[in-house]
Symmetry: D2
Subunit: 341 residues, 4 copies
């Protein structure tokens, strides 16, 4: 059976596995103080052109969002996010669990428009009752967004400009960062993205790793005692090597970008197939996730032969579903899907 449910169907990219195997019996320091974690940090700094950044490895995306946001915000502050943002909808309230409100603003194609952000901040600061309200303390966006869409460089700069005007850190959730940067539509590079925010993370789990995300505080602005905060949140691995070795591999010989590019090629092929076959796309996604509107009956038929994900109800008779490609998707699978459709 064909499977396009997600970008985390397979285990780990073979090169990472090889590196894990080779280093397996080395005795290394725990809790991230090993040499592979150091190496990985150096390579990431170089890749980002951020020589004086602070880098931490965490295990998964929700954990990363919770710890970074909770670490940055003051207790009376909340985080501004699109109402479709991952933290708004699909992290089981982990930001609220940490005591902070997600200040949801309406999205367009998964993105926060600069004008919407500005309006939100102006309204707050114009409100004489704001002492009784949650203060906006940072802005959260995703690259790519939940809908697979991308901010242009200009859009990102506009948002970051507003953030700086209001003294708010900008945080970019890069769970699928590679797939964003390698998209044909992307008009910015990793170093350019790093310059346009205060903290972001480079997603590993969905881009070839078994688990792991690399948080980059772009200008040595990690919260004080951040490692203790990671421990307190239950995010510190005794065998920190697991994360270090993976990112060391991903940032050697451009692997992270190569495998991301492959996924994008497969996604473009997939999109072509859907268009060719007359399917309606829910959004025109330039990245590895493709959203298609299926008639419910058709959906049930298709489900017998190919895996995909439920995304949401479209109307009584139609459903939005997601097909995802990844570093591991084979061209052959896409072609077989084409036949199926």
């Amino acid at each position: 059976m064909l499977s396009f449910e997600s970008d985390y169907l397979e285990g780990v990219h073979p090169k990472i596995l090889e590196h894990l195997v080779h280093t397996n019996l080395e005795k290394l320091s725990g809790y991230g103080d090993d040499e592979y974690s150091e190496l990985a940090k150096e390579k990431i700094k170089r890749a980002c052109h951020c020589p004086s950044s602070d880098i931490y490895f965490l295990v998964n995306g929700t954990q990363t969002n919770q710890i970074v946001i909770d670490g940055i915000l003051e207790q009376y502050e909340g985080v501004i996010a699109a109402d479709t943002g991952h933290i708004s909808v699909h992290e089981a309230g982990s930001i609220e669990y940490a005591g902070h409100k997600v200040l949801e603003v309406p999205q367009i194609a998964g993105k926060i428009k600069a004008e919407v952000l500005l309006e939100c901040l102006q309204t707050f600061f114009a409100d004489v009752n704001r002492e009784h309200m949650v203060y906006p303390g940072m802005v959260y966006i995703s690259y790519p967004t939940e809908y697979g869409t991308l901010y242009t460089k200009k859009e990102l700069e506009a948002i970051y400009g507003i953030c700086k005007d209001y003294g708010l850190p900008l945080y970019i959730d890069g769970a699928r960062l590679g797939y964003g940067l390698m998209s044909a539509q992307a008009d910015l590079t990793l170093p350019e993205l790093a310059k346009c925010c205060d903290v972001f993370y480079i997603g590993g789990t969905k881009v070839g790793a078994l688990c792991g995300e690399a948080v980059v505080f772009t200008h040595k602005n990690a919260p004080k005692h951040f490692k203790t905060m990671i421990k307190q949140h239950g995010g510190l691995l005794a065998k920190g090597r697991l994360l270090g070795i993976q990112f060391d591999t991903l940032f050697t010989d451009n692997l992270y970008f190569e495998i991301s590019r492959h996924a994008i090629e497969m996604a473009e092929l997939l999109k072509g197939v859907f268009r060719e076959k007359g399917y309606e796309l829910y959004v025109d996604s330039p990245t590895n996730q493709q959203f298609v509107i299926l008639e419910n009956e058709k959906m049930e038929q298709l489900r017998q032969h190919v895996g995909f994900s439920y995304w949401g109800r479209w109307d009584e008779n139609h459903t939005v579903v997601r097909f995802a490609t990844s570093w591991a998707t084979r061209k052959d699978d896409v072609l077989r899907l084409r036949e199926l459709l």
Copy 2:
């Protein structure tokens, strides 16, 4: 200068003050175990026709909402509220501080429509990814709402019916309950309201008390060890008498309702004045808060002579402001305002 800023401008209704004076030197048990608190509870039970309810006195509205909601919800649950609800906007994130998401739904005139609630619940339970989402754990509405509007009995029953279908407790914030029940538009009584929810509170602070709200768990459904939870949240008064004596007075000889009715009469007078003078109302509020759209210039002029509250920006040249009446509003003040306008 005239003052219509709020319904908590004056101290306390004279009858309450008198009762505080008379009982002042009695030696009473602490932490709410005094006889006046007991008396007050009995009187409230009778007024609500809820002989087997659990009643607790708390100090203010935000505290009440936080403790009740946090006490009822499981940790993975959130509370459904209108996006203009007090807990959504004006309690400084106290629900999120307690770890819970406010699941905001769009309002109409400050109210949650039954269809909107139903749609929200159906969508959640139809979502195959709901394990990654915040579970709806209860529903919060206000009577009257933030806009001074009222649910009809039918509307309330429809909402409560849905709540029961989904096993969700319904909680009514009654910060201004008296002003709601005494409105000409109200088509339900206190016992009827009590029958239509699982927990509600009878607001004291804004209806003649110095401070204090009476929480009624309508069918002995208070969370276990609720008193300890109140303590843990910093809400337990050593001199619980302060709350008991006030509610004992408010529920003696119908005082709570008498003073509420007076406020409504004053509000109707006030609304008439605005209409007579050609002012545009923001909503047609049947309770003690009246919302008027003022030209900004006019607003600045008026502000020299009369106090009112900022409510929100209407457009570039207009602002929504609030005029509130209370148990203490004098007819004379409304007439003087009329002259002013």
Copy 3:
């Protein structure tokens, strides 16, 4: 029946009540922005010789401790306290509810010894694993302590010296501050105490008020947006006047100290009675709380005629109980107790 259960048996000092009555119908701004709150703050600043302090009024002691401690600590920090401290034992876990560990150190007569504090801090900072531990972020002591005992000026200075060496704010819980300062054994004044800490509170509830505590950040060091944090914790009163008027009265004509002195005189009388009658004291308390070891049988007899509080088990046959005096205790009552014994 005689009553010595606590120092919060009666309502409120008559002068406060009178002030509440007189100002009752004045229309005042809400949320602490009224003129009486301002007046009270000015008077407290003068009494403390702290012209540039930040002062906030809160409702009760547990709330005050929770909000002050949570406001000061970083999220990875805990508060050092005696293992018998009020926050350690009798506040239902409100500090932990706010996310912080109470780092308990052994007490001697309710006090933290400077050497014990120093040892605790040295041990922590010598521990190479401290990144995995809760950082000490502030020190909490009470004046008087849970056992009614007092720090000498020298002891307090020693503790504050250590706090400053380690960069830790010192916070003094003054729920019964007046009774401490007016004790014959007290060798420091209010301004001297204020100089020896970073924040403290002046207890109202147990010293003549209906409710209310005045927090003094001694050198304009209140956490940013502290008012919003108070709101978020459910501690902000709409009718802030209730607290302002009370403290305005307490700090007019030395009332706070006069009524505290009276309680101390009554406590000394009481202690004399116990000694005269051959009762064993649990500690030699120089303040308004007296702790006596009673044979269980005797305790049950006595309980028929006089109220007192359970404090703890002494041994199989004996119990420690507490007798408290207050501003309201009459000499006559102590003499009647003498007869009883």
Copy 4:
């Protein structure tokens, strides 16, 4: 250089690695719904003789403790633990972060004595002021303890008996469970341990896995929606296979116990070496961690040639250090250490 710093120096047991390699390109469901996770659960149920238990895989020990404890406790409850317990000291306050107090009781050789537990509970329930205190909601012990010591079956039964009398769940932290069960001193088996508690976890990270702990709710008593709580705490892996495959291997052909037994043999050898060379042991640990008191000068010399961990200050001239063995320790290394000493 020789290394005995910890039991997490190497990567992962080769058989697990092999299993990861073999299954790597299989497309599997995410979030723990894969077949290897299912297989692993079945094998664990059999090994524990707990056919109707609930099993969850989590990433590390602190996370496991936080989520299990927070999932079980009511908000007004705390967890009883030894004052040297891992959650008391070395988890950066993660339990308090989740809102709960660790109710610390004095330990003897790392263990809670049944009498101490009973006394603690009797005192609490005899206290008339307990409404103002944190309720004991569960009991936490470790097997082996922080000092490597073991509860006897009788001791464990006594503790569990008290827990059942008071209606408190008993939770056993088994971070090093294998090393405990394989000790010569152990007088209970895995099924016997499972019968003596309500929930425990089988530590993977320190017993051969890269990461991962298996939580066993022994009688289908997992908290409702526990998976959503895991997500909310940031503990849910997209590639749940990583944990499933590891535990599938560990519970195939008795691997978990075999490798634990090896570590114990190495530890016994190590202990013999220390004794032979006249070193003083801090405790007589029957498991894989050995605690030795070293003169500081000697310690510095030794540190040039062999790695070990700081445990604590003994006196001015001596330090307690820890030597740990694991599944990966070679006999040769112990013999070389012997020569060194």
